[in-house]
Symmetry: C2
Subunit: 359 residues, 2 copies
Amino acid sequence: MIKAPYLLFIGDATDKLSIKMAQGAVDWSPDQCLGELSVAGCTVTTGLPQISIAQAARMGAKSFVLGFANSGGVLDAKWHDVIKQALEQGLDIVSGLHEKLTDIDSLSQLASNLGRQLIDIRHPQQSFKTGTGEKRSGKRLLTVGTDCSVGKMYTSLALEKEMQAQQLDADFRATGQCGILIKGMGVAIDCVVSDFISGATESLSPDNTSEHWDIIEGQGSLSHPAFAGVSLGLLHGSQPDAIVVCHALNRSHMRGLPNSQFPSIADTINLNLQAAKLTNPNVYVAGIAINTSSVTIDKGQEICRAISQEFNLACTDPLRDGVASIVNHLHRAPTKAITANTDSAIANRSELAAMVKRA
Amino acid sequence: MIKAPYLLFIGDATDKLSIKMAQGAVDWSPDQCLGELSVAGCTVTTGLPQISIAQAARMGAKSFVLGFANSGGVLDAKWHDVIKQALEQGLDIVSGLHEKLTDIDSLSQLASNLGRQLIDIRHPQQSFKTGTGEKRSGKRLLTVGTDCSVGKMYTSLALEKEMQAQQLDADFRATGQCGILIKGMGVAIDCVVSDFISGATESLSPDNTSEHWDIIEGQGSLSHPAFAGVSLGLLHGSQPDAIVVCHALNRSHMRGLPNSQFPSIADTINLNLQAAKLTNPNVYVAGIAINTSSVTIDKGQEICRAISQEFNLACTDPLRDGVASIVNHLHRAPTKAITANTDSAIANRSELAAMVKRA
């Protein structure tokens, strides 16, 4: 339904994290991206060349992708004109915002007149049942995070790529708009009616062959005051055999909430294992993925080594150093899991925590 | 918007828990309920006299309330005819199902032709923001449960009634369709888009005077594989100062899931306190409410006394014995809280657990 190639519109974004939909498409579907368009005031870039709508149309662009996100997900009316220009140049519009393009009369009417599509990829077309918690066949891995936007989708995509390279049967399951844009399918779990969070997640990774892995993209964090409910429903519905804990260096508070506390990696492991056991008592931690982009490569590797020793788990920066170490761990089907009982032992060793914070 | 009095339609229900919307209206808004209507196969009753739609209309009924619920919340097409009869007799239709009456063309058209309302009380009309976790003024109490349908709404309404009788400033905040029917306002939290669970809950109990109590109706259970996400978002958004733990005797598995495990009261206390601390570090347990309707009054009181001693907390059946003991505890503003550390101590004392199970 989504036609490539894309022109990625990033508006007047000033926060690199807010253009993660555009950046994700560039990083994971580069062949589908022709260029980016921004306007005055924008201070970030995906790295693609700046091209106009007219240029993009001449180059064969089929879709104009709104590549930015904002808390609340409402489309600022100031973007209506640029969207209309894209429609008039023959492009479909792809949006991952909560507010539906199809609910905006002027856009809806113009698209209809021109025979163009308005594609609200965040809004599920299917209907869901409530969850059951019943055990499904096949294996599942879920990425979980200390916070939002710490690299859960990238880690999941890197895991799928590495597992497929190792001839393992693995499929990435998208749970957010960016993942859906990259894979062309999935369910934006934060847009599902809350009664169906777990049920929708169950339908996203149905029964499969015993050696098949679903690599399910995590959302939010159990420690985020706004989004923990989504994270918990996703965790229960995924019934993961394995979780991979994702973290980004240099965070001092939860994304968007300056007064919030940031959880430790140990807290995150314990909270997630405790909750995950409700639908899979054998859940284990397969590894830790750290976004070290805020420090040098050497420093990042030093931190990953220290975390790996501390938790006796594979720890890596997926983009800089790959995820083979995590996949190898997974492949060996470890019987010994980090359990919630390690909490106090870990809490006493505060040096590492300080190191991660300072990095 | 909802006009009284009501005719309560309970269809062919065979499970008392499935007509809790009708029963709630009878128990808490008796003056607004004229009678009930059921059809062949129905084995339960609210206790109100059986009357026909025509009788109800003659008696002045203004609304035909769909007083049953089902998992999934879809309206069986077999009820379209009886709804049409009610419309033709001049009644509005009130539904608490997920599926919207206004989305069913034949009903929507007939209602429009006749000038009647189709009121989908589960579907929020307002729009919400994502949560912030910021501290709000005033006090909040949230009822939490070992399971769905264990008495959280009844306990909340009983607390409001008792607190108002004691001249305390307290307001019940409805989070489900039945509570909304009773109070005429609220937000059906399980029908909110999942990104906004906490944000919607925050808007439901805004800043208030320092001595004011919001008594927030809980939903689901942190131990329910289908609905824990809703419960967690509601807990974080409520930022409760106090929680009251609700439980019904004689449950062997989570509602609707025969293969699930049932949590202990101790588990439920610990899980909820641990999670609630994210947005209110001073949260405490104000008491335990037990639905003892499955045993004799004497046996119920014996069990409540045993649980009270075990946890050193007020424990009562709200309907049989009132909630004054809990409100008194609340009023004394206890400084000593049950904390998550009591878990192992409680787990070792298994006699009580066995007693509660056997009861």
